[in-house]
């Protein structure tokens, strides 16, 4: 087993780590969290919430011990959180491996199979999904492919079906990324592992050019460059100091070979599979937006007002879905002053963000009863 242990506040929660492999043989991580209080230990009627991280992050982003994290808030609000480390997790070795994957695999294997497993465990209880970034984008492919029917509700943060970069990120990410992917299999973020003399040094040096007062190269590569794409993952000021100091644990290497799939979707501003018909992925839709009428549950789209990675992608998604598919229950909430990933890992996320998520889940839970 190669899965790195979950870094959770063990004084507050108990982690049930479940050995989990996708049907294509890829090792994944699945865990159920229970609060360390007698009432919570015995609670069996809680709606379940599956949390999906973004590419190169991991389930750790939902259980930061240094802040009031999403798992804490969900447990307090009466939900049962489940964390899936899909194959893009930095707790797993796949991003630095030689076996390539695409978001098709995540949409076809990881998410539906995790959902299926959880459903077997929770019986008739409701199941929600809260997903971030490319976890949410993969989820949109699963949903529009009809692979995860019957969810009680979905929260998609950062991006969902309409990825959109800035002009700068297009240039650096799509064009520069093309240059990079023939040289590197992955781009690391942990400068302490990379060292001063490595083939990645020029990339760290470039990222540090507009670093301001921060002197952490790992922060530079994430905040000023986002693995060379010219994006920015978070509003620096929103991070807790301890979170800032452990960024290298929270984010891992980005595989360069996944760039073309992302580029294809971004240039079209539409989630779509990499593999075309006849390659074993026929269950996935040709184009997620065209198949959006297969979404069968309410969707809450969240985005930070200062998202410098996928910008106003979710607002665009909301506009498109509400005009082309007016029957869908889609809402959009913008979080003032937040960036791309800090709506989950920011020190004030419990105050500014999680209330929207819990309100949505509560509303859907109440509606079903």
């Amino acid at each position: 087993m190669t899965l790195r242990p979950l870094y959770a506040p063990m004084d507050r929660v108990t982690v049930e780590q479940i050995p989990f492999h996708a049907s294509d043989g890829t090792e994944l991580g699945l865990s159920r969290l229970i609060a360390n209080t007698p009432t919570d230990q015995n609670g069996t009627d809680r709606p379940a919430v599956l949390l999906l991280h973004g590419l190169t992050a991991s389930a750790d982003m939902f259980v930061l011990p240094e802040t009031r994290n999403l798992v804490d808030v969900l447990l307090s609000a009466g939900y049962e959180p489940w964390l899936l480390d899909w194959r893009g997790s930095c707790r797993l070795p796949h991003n630095e491996g030689r076996v390539r994957y695409t978001f098709d695999d995540v949409a076809l294997y990881d998410i539906p199979e995790a959902v299926s497993y959880i459903r077997d465990r929770i019986g008739r209880r409701q199941l929600f999904v809260v997903a971030h970034c490319l976890g949410a984008l993969s989820l949109s492919l699963s949903m529009t492919g009809g692979l995860v029917p019957g969810l009680a509700g979905v929260v998609a943060q950062g991006v969902f079906m309409t990825p959109k970069y800035s002009a700068r990120s297009r240039l650096l990410g799509h064009l520069g990324g093309e240059w990079g992917r023939s040289r590197w299999t992955h781009l690391p973020v942990d400068f302490t592992k990379v060292g001063f003399r490595s083939r990645y040094t020029p990339m760290f040096a470039l990222a540090s050019l507009s670093a301001g007062d921060c002197d952490d190269p790992t922060c530079h590569i994430l905040h000023n460059s986002a693995w060379g794409t010219g994006a920015s993952l978070y509003v620096h000021e929103n991070l807790h100091e301890r979170t800032h100091n452990r960024l290298a644990e929270l984010f891992g290497s980005a595989p360069t070979w996944i760039g073309p799939h992302l580029r294809r979707m971004e240039l079209a501003h539409t989630a779509m599979p990499w593999n075309t018909a006849g390659q074993g992925y026929d269950q996935l839709p040709e184009n997620a937006l065209d198949s959006a009428d297969r979404i069968d549950c309410p969707v809450l789209l969240l985005a930070g007002s200062d998202n410098k990675t996928f910008h106003d992608s979710n607002e665009l998604c909301y506009d498109i879905l509400s005009s082309r598919h007016p029957d869908l229950d889609v809402r959009y909430v913008e979080i003032p002053g937040y960036g791309h990933v800090d709506p989950f890992i920011g020190r004030g996320a419990a105050l500014d963000v999680f209330g929207h998520i819990v309100d949505f889940l509560d509303e859907r839970s109440a509606a079903s009863t």
Binding site: R68, V73, S76, A77, R98, R100, T162, K164, H174, E178, R181, S182, R183, W184, T185, G212, D213, E237, T256, W257, P260, R263, R264, L267, A268, H269, T270, M272, E286, N287, L289, D290, S305, D306, L316, D319, I320, S323, R324, P336, G337, R347, G348, A350, L351, D352, F354, G355, V358, D359
Partner: protein, 830 residues
């Protein structure tokens, strides 16, 4: 109880010009609350002052038959009675400030109407705002040299005339004797015996009284306890006042976000639930969250800053004194019309109570949100953090005096050991992300007036900063012990008139600049001739002499400087002060437009920029071959660059000629072009990206309606010019599906002539402004068009790049090459 002959008074005769029955009914039927203030004020002309009343009737009114004569105390008690009934409050007396008792501006309007209607006492709103103590109101009415001729005493009483009240009015210090009558609602007090009018009452000298009152208030600081230094650690339990207000609400959230402190919020309310409801409503009004997660870290404490010991029990007071480790004073009565006596209980005495709390028990720092209003002396040379503040005798507005007095009192408290921090914002403008703004901020009012009338006063500097920055820096100071006890200017990066005018120009919202006094006259004249309810707040401020001085001082003020603040911001890696430019104010601007405070240019306004577009082509039945000639003669226009950049739309007018639709040309009733709708996301899977969408509502000469929809589409081909000129259309009768379809094209020759050389700009703008407008349009539209046209080609090109091998493939190739080389070398060695 209404006055009646039995109680010694007849029903006062109605004076038609000041009859407020209708107003009263309007008010009583209208909504209550601050949101309704502007509307209510706008419905009523300012009530005539006694002088105006006499002047306007152009003749002495003469005794009003049967109207009772008032003595000072008697009238004051009558006003107490009316006010108590109006405000539904029992505990007021003749020295109670009605605003302190909970009256709002709406209540002030109602009181003026009630006093006029029921007591025949005609006060202006300014009188009530200046000093809202019933005794002072009575004194102001009776002591005015221009008060109306006194009415006859009721003949029925026949009692002897009482001696005239003499002597100067009592100083309204706290120790001054007051009428101790506690009002009981519904009990009208009317003169039951003949009283002699107080003809000898002198004219009130408000300013001298204010100064005396300020000195008396400052002396209270000498009664504060002595205290030592607070422990220099970040606070864990903070008392915060003013959380239902604009800045206080934002500071509450910032304190929670950027510290681990638990915050005790002092909120007015009878119960915890009531106070919590007020807090939740206050936060929601400024787009701030209120959730279970926030409630976990907040204790809502019902209390009242204006009352001794904050209206808390002794146990609560002791508990706070011993448990708190920081006190933050944000609450203030921010009202530019009210006088010092009306504001002092909140703005001065309340702050002194907080100082007492900070100095009792465990020593605590007191962080006081002051204001650069303490410099509001016209002609002051500099406004640095440690510069001397204004001379109080040169301050005119009650608000300025109250902020000055609070600081002066706290300076005395500093001498007794209090660690008092002065945080002085200037104008606090809207949130850069949510757009939440304070409608009663002078800067909001000024901006609203400028945007609506497109005329600006000559401003030296706008010493204002967005609320998010002010709140963030203020909370950082509160949480940083090394920053306590100093003065900070939270004025951000002052804006200049040139920069403001340039922003307006780029947005296509050009403004003219006038000297202050010319602008003032112009603004008031516009408010008279064309009153706008949303601007009534600003109009009232500028009609009031003290209000005028506040605004004049703010537009003529020098640049506020804040070296200490800047150093603090840099040291603690806080967001640096940046200019509140067009981008930063965009959200507030949109929110103000929704609230009616500013008006966004509309398609019915004279256009900012326009040009012609001619199209020719063929249409036919929807399922047939297009064979009928058709032509468009359109005029494309924008009302402002804001419309273009934010909504990406262009307005369309003109005619459509097509014999299949009608023999005569059809007129465009309503038309719009959407540039790169939905960022050009294809409608169906493929490489066809929408470029422009035309939607026209047409009307033929017989009055029948038609709809027409057209798309310009970008494709992965190199005929970009053709794609940019070709429009695929569908049309049909109103409410029916498409019956016609076809393709239209902009003739190549007319493209440059009409759409580049033929661009026309609002002729009222200068030539330079016209050039800027034209270039701004061309730059924006070309960029959009270029991006839209290139996207399909980029996607097709990327599909080629996808075929390239990546590092894993190349590594494999390299490995294979190495193997081959190794084999070759081995063979060679053999």
């Amino acid at each position: 109880m209404n006055p009646s002959p039995e109680t010694g008074g007849d029903v006062p005769a109605r004076h038609h010009e000041v009859d407020r029955q209708h107003e009263g009914e309007l008010i009583e039927s209208g909504p209550r609350g601050s949101a309704a203030i502007a509307g209510l004020l706008a419905r009523f002309q300012p009530p005539p002052s006694p002088r105006q009343s006499v002047d306007s009737t152009n003749a002495p009114q003469g005794p009003v038959s049967g109207t009772p004569a008032w003595g000072l105390e008697q009238l004051a008690k009558a006003i107490v009675s009316k006010a108590a009934a109006l405000l539904d409050i029992k505990e007021i007396d003749t020295e109670t400030d009605l605003f302190d008792a909970g009256a709002t501006s709406v209540d002030a309007v109602r009181l003026v109407a009630v006093l006029d209607r029921e007591l025949n006492v005609r006060l202006s709103l300014d009188d009530v705002f200046a000093d809202a103590r019933p005794r002072r109101l009575a004194q102001r009415w009776l002591g005015s040299p221009t008060k109306r001729p006194l009415p006859e005493a009721p003949a029925a009483t026949g009692a002897p005339v009482a001696p005239a009240a003499t002597g100067a009015p009592e100083l309204p210090v706290a120790s001054a004797p007051s009428a101790t009558t506690t009002a009981s609602q519904g009990t009208d007090i009317m003169p039951t015996e003949t009283v002699t009018p107080d003809e000898t009452l002198p004219v009130l000298d408000d300013h001298a009284e204010d100064l005396a009152l300020i000195m008396a208030d400052l002396a209270r600081a000498d009664q504060l306890p002595w205290c030592g230094d607070p422990e220099p650690v970040p606070p864990r339990r903070v008392l915060l006042t003013g959380v239902t207000g604009f800045l206080g609400g934002h500071m509450l959230l910032d304190l929670l976000r950027h510290s681990d402190a638990h915050v005790v919020c002092l909120v007015r309310g009878d119960t915890v639930q009531d106070a919590e409801r007020r807090l939740a409503e206050g936060l929601a009004g400024f787009s701030l969250p209120w959730s279970a997660e926030i409630r976990r870290r907040v204790t809502v404490l019902p209390g009242d800053l204006r009352r001794p010991r904050l209206g808390l029990t002794d146990e609560q007071w002791e508990l706070l004194a011993n448990e708190l480790d920081s006190v933050v004073s944000v609450a203030a009565a921010v009202d530019f019309l009210r006088g010092y006596p009306s504001l002092r209980r909140t703005n001065v005495l309340g702050v002194l109570t907080l100082a007492e709390l900070a100095m009792t028990g465990r020593p605590k720092p007191l962080h006081h949100i002051s204001s650069i209003a303490v410099f509001n002396e016209i002609g002051i040379a500099s406004m640095g953090e440690d510069d001397p503040v204004a001379h109080v005798d040169r301050l005119t507005a009650g608000y300025d005096k109250s902020k000055w007095a609070a600081e002066a009192a706290l300076r005395r408290a500093r001498d007794r050991g209090l660690k008092a921090t002065f945080l002085r914002p200037g104008g606090i403008v809207g949130h850069t992300r949510t757009g939440a703004y304070n409608p009663h901020d002078i800067n909001t009012g000024l901006f609203s007036a400028i945007s609506r009338y497109r005329v600006a006063p000559k401003i030296n500097y706008s010493n204002s900063a967005p609320v998010d920055w002010v709140s963030r820096v203020a909370t950082a100071v509160i949480c940083e012990p090394s920053g306590w006890g100093q003065n900070y200017h939270l004025t951000g990066r002052p804006d200049t008139l040139t920069e403001m005018v340039r922003d307006q120009e780029l947005g296509g919202l050009n403004v003219r600049v006038m000297a202050w006094d010319v602008w003032l006259k112009d603004f008031l004249a516009r408010c008279e001739s064309d009153p706008v309810p949303e601007l009534e707040f600003m109009a009232r401020v500028l009609r009031n002499p003290a209000g005028q001085k506040i605004v004049e001082a703010s537009v003529t003020a020098p640049m506020a400087t804040g070296e200490r603040t800047e150093a603090f911001v840099a040291r603690h890696k806080l967001p640096p002060p940046t200019r509140y430019d067009a981008q930063a104010r965009l959200k507030s601007y949109e929110r103000m437009a929704r609230d009616g405070l500013v008006i966004l240019p509309h398609r019915d306004d004279p256009p900012h920029l326009w040009f012609r577009e001619t199209m020719r082509g063929k249409v036919g039945p929807a399922d047939g071959k297009p064979d009928t000639h058709c032509s468009f003669a359109l005029t494309l226009s924008i009302a402002s660059m804001y419309q273009l950049v934010q909504h990406r739309t262009i307005d369309v007018r003109g005619t459509v000629s097509c014999s299949l639709l009608h023999p005569d040309p059809l007129t465009v009733d309503d038309g719009e072009i959407w540039v790169r709708p939905h960022e050009g996301v294809p409608h169906r899977h493929g490489l066809d990206h929408p470029l422009l969408r035309y939607r026209l509502a047409l009307r033929d000469s017989d009055g029948n309606g038609w709809w027409l929809e057209g798309w310009k589409t970008a494709r992965a081909r190199f005929d970009y010019m053709k794609q940019a000129r070709t429009l695929t259309i569908r049309a049909g009768r109103e409410g029916e599906p498409a019956s016609l379809a076809g393709t239209m094209r902009v003739p190549k020759k007319s493209y440059k002539r009409e759409q580049i050389d033929g661009i026309r700009v609002n002729p009222n703008l200068s030539m330079r402004e016209q050039r800027i407008a034209k270039l701004a349009w061309l730059t924006w539209f070309s960029a959009q068009l270029g991006q839209g046209l290139l996207e399909p080609t980029l996607r097709a090109g990327a599909e080629l790049l996808d075929l390239r091998p990546d590092a894993i493939d190349l590594d494999k190739d390299r490995y294979q090459a190495k193997l081959k080389q190794w084999e070759k070398d081995r063979k060679h060695l053999r």
